[in-house]
């Protein structure tokens, strides 16, 4: 599948942008030309040879802060996506296999989580649990997990109810073989799409939280935090928010682009995601979405 | 294996017989069914006699001027030179029925869609002309098309459920046509649409009027679709595989309804089907298509009794081989 994603122009662009961001996250703190926490006399300095992106209100080098802050933002987004994947997909698939009680319970739970304004809830829960980025990301991951639950469940249902699995069972294929041959092929692509989307969503949430000063201790730089500190000095440096804003948007865009590319190459299976998301929209459709729609 | 010789023996004379059997075979499976009162009656009378009449009169007087005239129509991709339909010609006069028979992909549906001006995008009429009531369709503006459809030419299709808007009550969809095309008021349109539903022999038209498509069965939906198609009083009705997905008794009733409409209102019918029996029952003239080519064309009885092209012969033979009469025949013999 990786090769097929890379065969698309959009897939190549998405992967390239995300690779650059990942490299920033890995090596950014090492590349920072100056100490991101060191203050200096020249506050709110414009772009210059010494400060490529100028300095902030305490005279700290913006480029260094940007590079140093990349790791937190990217790791945060990954934490959100992986938490959501584990918390959502496992019960999603189990809800197809295990009994009705489990199915009913998890469906209600997914409905509950979806109905919560997650940014608000994340702010509330994090404030109560204490100010730490990992808590913040785990909570956010749980809150966005219904997407994975629905996707995994829709894909699982479509496999479980499909005639070809029945046919394979009748023709005497082993369960293990069926899982390898049919179930993975059906379940993995939509999960990959959801994962890429969630990285984008997670990135926005991390940036929003750090923008509000939640999840990190004050002097530590983050992309969201940079924007927040720029806000107070817009009249002095109106172009200052540009760099962190562009970085955030490029990352989110690349994640969405990757999601689309994966969906495009996975064809029929990728559409399970769309169905899964539309299940709440009560659309008519074959096998997969109907039980979801009926249950919501 | 005695059937072999017996079949060949039967081929020649029982073609007449087969026409006959074909036409009432949809009804005959249930002679004990009280819903099939037409069982003993065969529609043979409308066969040869009218056909000859139509041919004698074709193009002679203004009264029988063809309402739909297709001249050597070719359909294909305009860019690539792939041609799908290689020249179809026919004339249809009011009150007559033309059948187009052929396997799927033979171009019969494309021909009909060309006449309706709804060819799916890559395809276009590359040569030839279609005239609806004397107007060549190539010259029609979109607005004129809109005016013409429904009032002069209309159509019903296979899978009637999908051709009705799922989120509107069926009565409202018929009333809409009446209000737009006939300028009726809301109240008049309602009354008239109930009347139309009754005229297509739906049992409780008032009830059906207020139902959604998903609440109706396939046969009922096809009647509703016919009612909507004839609401604005068109002169031509194209029935594209209109009975294909229906079960045999319902199919017979729908065909009966079309026949009745033709006799009552002078509607000109184009019946497209892959089933020879359907066409034989209803049509004066038959066009046999294969691979975009018209392989045989002529009065129904002539084509059925005296097929010239091997493909037509094959169609008829298959019908005999797999049709019900194969099972009925030994019984009769016994």
């Amino acid at each position: 599948m990786v090769r097929r994603v890379l065969s698309l122009t959009s897939g190549r662009i998405a992967v390239a942008v995300l690779a650059v961001i990942a490299l920033l996250a890995l090596f950014g703190p090492l590349l920072a030309p100056q100490d991101p926490l060191a203050t200096s006399e020249s506050t709110l300095a414009p772009v210059s040879g010494a400060h490529w992106l100028g300095t902030d209100y305490l005279g700290r080098d913006v480029l260094s802060r940007l590079l140093d802050g990349s790791r937190v933002s990217v790791l945060g987004a990954l934490e959100v996506a992986l938490t959501a994947l584990v918390v959502g997909a496992v019960p999603g698939i189990l809800s197809v296999c295990l009994g009705r009680a489990f199915e009913w319970f998890t469906l209600r739970l997914a409905d509950t989580l979806v109905a919560l304004p997650f940014l608000l809830f994340a702010v509330a829960v994090i404030a109560l649990l204490g100010n730490g980025l990992t808590q913040a990301m785990l909570v956010t991951g749980v809150l966005v997990s219904p997407l994975f639950y629905r996707v995994a469940r829709a894909a699982g249902l479509s496999v479980a109810r499909s005639p070809y699995v029945e046919a394979a069972l009748i023709s005497g294929a082993s369960i293990g073989w069926i899982v390898r041959r049919h179930v993975w092929a059906k379940v993995l692509p939509p999960l990959a799409v959801a994962l890429a989307q969630t990285i984008g969503v997670g990135f926005v949430i991390v940036s929003s939280l750090t923008f509000l000063g939640i999840g990190v201790q004050p002097p530590a730089p983050t992309w969201g935090g940079l924007l927040a500190s720029d806000l107070g000095y817009l009249s002095h440096r109106p172009w200052a928010p540009l760099a962190p804003a562009v970085l955030i948007m490029a990352t989110v865009w690349a994640a969405n682009l990757l999601a689309d590319a994966v969906r495009d190459v996975s064809g029929e299976a990728g559409r399970a995601l769309v169905d899964g998301r539309r299940a709440r929209a009560h659309r008519p459709g074959p096998a997969g979405p109907a039980p979801l729609g009926g249950a919501s | 294996m005695t059937p072999l010789p017996s079949k060949t023996a039967r081929t020649a004379p029982p073609d007449a017989d087969s026409h006959d059997a074909d036409s009432h075979d949809p009804r005959s499976p249930a002679p004990d069914d009280p819903q099939a009162p037409h069982a003993p009656h065969s529609p043979a009378p409308d066969g040869p006699a009218t056909t000859h009449a139509s041919h004698a009169a074709a193009g002679a007087t203004a009264a029988t001027r063809p309402v739909l005239s297709v001249r050597d129509v070719r359909i294909g991709h305009p860019a690539g030179d792939r041609e799908i339909v290689h020249g179809v010609s026919f004339d249809l006069t009011p009150g007559k029925a033309l059948g187009i028979v052929g396997e799927s992909g033979s171009g019969k549906t494309l021909t009909c869609r060309a006449a309706l001006g709804i060819l799916p995008p890559p395809f276009e009429v590359t040569a030839g002309t279609v005239e609806i009531d004397g107007t060549p369709i190539a010259e029609l503006t979109p607005r004129q098309w809109t005016e013409l459809r429904g009032t002069t030419i209309s159509a019903v299709f296979q899978d009637p459920a999908s051709y009705l808007n799922p989120s509107l009550r069926v009565g409202a969809q018929i009333a809409e046509v009446l209000r737009v095309k006939k300028g009726l008021t809301r109240r008049e349109a309602r009354a008239r649409s109930v009347e139309l539903l009754r005229s297509v022999r739906l049992r409780d038209p008032e009830l059906v009027h207020g139902q959604y498509p998903y609440e109706l069965s396939g046969g009922m939906l096809q009647r509703v679709l016919i009612a909507a198609a004839i609401a604005a009083g068109p002169r031509i009705l194209i029935a594209d595989e209109a009975t294909t997905a229906l079960d045999v008794t319902v199919q017979a009733e729908i065909l009966d309804l079309l026949e009745d409409l033709r006799e009552r209102t002078g509607l000109a019918l184009v019946v497209v089907s892959h089933d020879l029996a359907v066409v034989a029952q209803l049509c004066d003239e038959v066009l046999v298509m294969r691979g975009g080519e018209v392989v045989e064309q002529g009065p129904t009885s002539q084509v059925l009794h005296n097929p010239q092209h091997p493909y037509t012969r094959l169609l008829i033979a298959e019908h005999e081989q797999y049709g019900l009469d194969r099972f009925l025949a030994p019984e009769e013999a016994a």
Binding site: L109, P117, L120, L128, G130, P238, H282 | L168, D204
Partner: protein, 342 residues
């Protein structure tokens, strides 16, 4: 062929019509009940979790009022004052019955009534959110409809590209850009603050315009995308061909047939969008210095004012559920039961 009731004959027709009216009423009731049925567990789980978290976090009004170096006796006295020494379930039950009576308790930080505090902020937030929804729906609708009608042309591609760009712009980024350009740069709008509508419609509108636009981007993108794909899908349906063949005009087919069917998913998306709109208000109100609901939530959370945070969650859930209720009722009108999989 015909349904059994069809044979009932005209005598029963009046009864059938009456039953249909009842049926419509029943559908509304079913929609209402279903929304409430989802709402109850949401409500219980969310409030219970926040309550449990308070117990786990060890946050207490004593810390806020007395500071970190209070004596254990003083802390115990204050906690007893707030009734925090009672068993957990008793506290929860007490609080819950208060909520049912519209009482959200008192703030730990200043002893003010939380219902009043939230009520003050809600006016601001609802003004902004409603305006954002209006902008989002109108703009999104226009863009989606044009793209859907001119599908696969350059207009469609341009709109799709534009929508993709604005869909990746988080509300706070848009907010900052808007402030930088329209408030600081051009000076067209005030950069912060709020004026109630009673003190003049113009100033009120001027103050909520930028935050509403910032919030609306997400809605615009989602509505436009959903409507476009809905329209494209609907135009592929056979019933469009059916309507064409019956001689209906393109305009009539669009408004009477296609739009109706494309609208369902779009409306449903809008229902799902509302929670994130409420969430994003936390950030936009911070940027635009609005003393609204989101700002109150943020301040309360950062101060560790648990009753206030709980109040915020209760109100946000009520908001989300009421909005979904409206959307579901509209959906029930636009599309019949079969389409919604009832």
């Amino acid at each position: 062929m015909t349904t059994t009731e069809a044979q009932a004959g005209p005598a029963l027709r009046r009864g059938v019509v009456a039953a249909r009216t009842r049926h419509t009423l029943g559908r509304v009731l079913v929609t209402l009940t279903r929304s409430v049925a989802i709402f109850v567990p949401v409500f219980l789980v969310a409030t219970f979790v926040t309550f449990a978290l308070r117990s786990l976090s060890g946050l207490s009004p004593a810390r806020i009022q007395l500071g970190e170096d209070a004596t254990p006796e003083a802390v115990a006295r204050i906690e007893a004052e707030w009734g925090l020494d009672r068993p957990f379930l008793v506290q929860y039950g007490d609080w819950f019955s208060g909520v049912l009576h519209g009482q959200l308790g008192t703030s730990w930080t200043n002893g003010a009534d939380i219902s009043t505090l939230i009520g003050l902020g809600l006016g601001v937030s609802l003004s902004v959110a409603t305006f954002a929804l209006v902008i989002g729906v109108v703009t999104g609708f226009a863009l989606g409809a044009v793209a859907g009608l001119r599908r696969t042309t350059w207009v469609d591609r341009a709109i799709t590209g534009f929508v993709t760009v604005i869909s990746v712009m988080p509300a706070f980024v848009v907010g900052i850009v808007l402030v930088a350009v329209f408030a600081v740069g051009l000076g067209l709008f005030p950069s912060a603050g709020y004026v109630p509508a009673e003190q003049g419609f113009g100033p009120w509108l001027a103050h909520i315009t930028l935050p509403a636009i910032a919030l609306s981007f997400d809605v615009v993108a989602d509505v436009a995308r959903q409507l476009r794909s809905g329209l494209v899908a609907a135009y592929r349906e056979n019933y469009v061909t059916g309507a064409v063949v019956r001689g209906l005009s393109p305009r009539r087919i669009f408004f009477g047939h296609v739009l109706r069917n494309a609208l369902g998913p779009t409306l449903a998306t809008l229902g799902l969008k509302f929670p994130s709109l409420v969430g994003a208000s936390v950030v936009t109100e911070w940027i635009f210095g609005l003393q609204g609901f989101g700002r109150f939530a943020n301040d309360a959370a950062q101060a560790g004012d648990v009753p206030a945070v709980q109040g915020v969650l209760v109100v946000s859930i009520v908001l989300v559920v009421s909005f979904n209720l409206i959307v579901n009722l509209v959906l029930a009108r636009v599309t019949p039961a079969a389409q919604r999989g009832v």
